[in-house]
Amino acid sequence: MRRGGRTRRAPFRTAPSDLKTLVTAVFAFYLFAGIVLLSGAATILSKNPVHSVLWLILAFFNAAGLFILLGAEFLAMLLVIVYVGAVAVLFLFVVMMLDIDFAALRAGFVKALPVGLLLAVVLVSELLLVAGGSVRVVAGEAAAPLDGFVGMTNTQALGSVLYTKYLFVFQASGIVLLTAMVGAIVLTHRQRAGTKRQDVGAQVARTPASSISNVKPVSGEGVSL
């Protein structure tokens, strides 16, 4: 871990000599990381899909805590606002509203297990291979902020490049979202027969002559309008 030059970093980087801060940071890291792992496992293990989503939200909150420890306060807030605030809540609604038979979904689990396990083993061994090679070297160098962003908060740094350096891809991402929106409307929006819509023009154009009629009721027979 390199020091110096970075004043706005996580506590255990700015004052490593302060044992109490270091212990707090390490304690916080293991707390957050432990809860992320546990709630991640609970997400895929719990029988009730609603509980799964709630566990997922807990995992998101703790991952946000990990980001704060790294000094990435913007990402932490983004995680809470976007993932917890929007995505997970949307998941929750969808899971509650869809009548999915989860027992039927799990039916193929045992059959697919060998393939899944094989794939997992391959991927894990690949990761270990990669990690065994050169991760340590990279980790020592990766922590320094880029030139030109020293002394800035994350939010400032992101804001300073989003509309300048990354203007092209930023605007293009907007088009990607627009495409997704157009696609969703194309695939789901339909004009149902028999729906009653408000026609403002017709309402405004109503005149007394067209909407009031005089009838002479005959006693005992009522009126039909």
């Binding site: 291979l129 090679g133 300048t164 891809v169 495409t179 157009v182 696609g183 194309v186």
Partner: protein, 480 residues
């Protein structure tokens, strides 16, 4: 001039497409589905303007190295825009017939094309990913465009799930390369990877994942599983679109990533590309034999053709890359021509039919159509005097020049096997007992498109070889 304005000028084709798609979207929203025909022609006009902008615009890097306009991107953009314009026009009779004439069709086509133009101009992993995702999102919607038909919805869903997985794999690869190579910019990466960083296992893993993600888009074996199902289920004009422009764009992207970003790791990616090319050629040739549906047959044909084009990339020389570009240009014409012929296959009630047996005896009821389809099939098979032979010849020569003899030999063997099923179509049309005749042609434009495609592939098309090869060589040289 402010650098941003200069950059915007260089990216003029994308700007034209963005403004054009927003404009057509607004027009469509206010005028409703009855505006499908005028909007389609507006869309073709905008493709034309963008094509002119791409062909004549300044060639330089823009937006701080995120985007680059060079000879390579100009060649591919003109090709993509032309193919997309044809895809927009050929769909009109079908869409009007099937009562799904929604105005969003040209809009989505333009957004997909915008994504493709970004892809071939990508000079950074970030632009690559955003462009690819833009194309993919529009494609998923187009595949499911016939939303009331189960097959179409299934095609859309299948494409979406597998495409999302491929995007995930691609992103994982990009993150590995960024982590070990230190940059997402192609030029910086190229410089870094020529050094010791190129030896690290992490970069090689990243390369493998990136190639896997891109191979999915060009439907090369072993990432081809979705192709026959999606082509069969998607509306025929959409299948025609999928088989043409996106293939060219993804192939261009693959070439640029391999030659530019991973230029120092040719040995590593050549192995992968060679194996994938061999697998695609063989599986495309063998898999098509048992098919009874013409759209599935064309899907396998596209898998095989991608394999042939990859031979040129495996060679990795200027000759090889220009072979790839030449191949894709000829392939686009052949596949679009074949799909317009498929669009003509409608029974007496006007309902589309897709079985091979319905082509039986076509030469007696529709002489012109049968002759055109026969020329296209012979050309796809690579029979010498027809145009389809020459790009195959170009990529095989490039492979032999780089001592990739095995690739060239297997390529020739695969084309011989593949010739069987192309000839089977011709045999059905000319020698089998007639099946019920098709409905008469409903569109002069489409009949004209078939005529142009057939003429282009006929020996007359050899006039086009010199200018096409010349342009492809200029384009390929931009990468070296």
């Amino acid at each position: 001039m402010h650098p941003t304005f200069a950059s915007i000028q260089i990216a003029a084709p994308e700007l034209v497409l963005t403004i054009g798609s927003l404009l057509t979207l607004m027009l469509g929203v206010f005028r409703g589905d009855r505006s499908l025909v005028p909007l389609t022609w507006v869309c073709v006009l905008i493709f034309g303007i963008a094509g002119v902008a791409a062909a004549t615009g300044d060639q330089a890097a823009a937006f701080g190295g995120l985007y680059v306009a060079d000879g390579f991107s100009a060649y591919l953009k003109v090709m993509i825009l032309a193919a997309a314009a044809v895809s927009a026009v050929l769909a009109l009779p079908y869409l009007q017939h099937a009562a799904t004439g929604r105005f969003e069709y040209p809009v989505l086509l333009m957004l997909a094309t915008l994504g493709m133009c970004m892809m071939v101009s990508a000079n950074d992993m970030l632009t690559l990913y955003i462009g690819l995702e833009l194309l993919s999102l529009a494609s998923y919607t187009l595949a499911a465009f016939h939303r009331n038909e189960a097959r179409s919805s299934e095609a859309g869903l299948k494409y979406f799930i597998l495409g999302a997985l491929a995007s995930g794999i691609l992103l994982y690869g990009i993150s590995l390369v960024y982590g070990f190579g230190g940059s997402t910019n192609f030029e910086t990466l190229s410089a870094t990877l020529r050094g010791p960083a190129g030896q690290s296992t992490g970069v090689v893993f990243g390369l493998v994942f990136i190639l896997a993600g891109l191979m999915f888009k060009i439907s090369a074996v072993p990432f081809h599983m979705w192709t026959p199902d999606v082509y069969e289920g998607a509306p025929t004009p959409v299948a025609a679109f999928f088989s043409a422009a996106p293939k060219a764009a993804a192939m261009g992207l693959l070439v640029r990533v391999c030659v530019e970003a991973f230029g120092g790791m040719t040995f590593d990616w050549r192995q992968i590309v060679s194996v994938v090319a061999i697998a695609s050629m063989l599986l495309g040739a063998v898999g098509a034999i048992g098919q009874t549906n013409i759209k599935r047959l064309l899907a396998y044909s596209s898998i095989a053709n991608v394999g042939f084009a990859l031979i040129g990339l495996a060679a990795g020389t200027v000759e090889g890359i220009s072979g790839v570009l030449f191949y894709m240009a000829v392939y686009l014409v052949m596949t679009l021509g074949a799909f317009v012929c498929v669009l003509q296959m409608r029974d007496a009630d006007g309902k589309p039919v897709e079985t091979l047996s319905s082509l039986n005896g076509l030469s007696r009821s529709r002489k012109g159509l049968a002759a055109a389809l026969a020329v296209l099939m012979f050309s796809l098979a690579g029979i010498p005097p027809l145009l389809g032979f020459w790009p195959k010849f170009a990529v095989f020569t490039a492979a032999i020049d780089t001592q990739l003899y095995l690739l060239a030999v297997i390529g020739v063997v695969a084309s011989v096997i593949g010739a069987y099923y192309y000839l089977r179509v011709v045999k059905a049309m000319y020698f089998d007992e007639p099946a019920p005749a098709f409905a008469a042609s409903d569109s002069r434009v489409n009949a004209g498109l078939i005529g142009i495609a057939a003429l282009f592939c006929s020996p007359l098309g050899m006039l086009a070889i010199t200018p096409l090869v010349g342009a492809a060589r200029v384009a390929a040289r931009a990468l070296f």
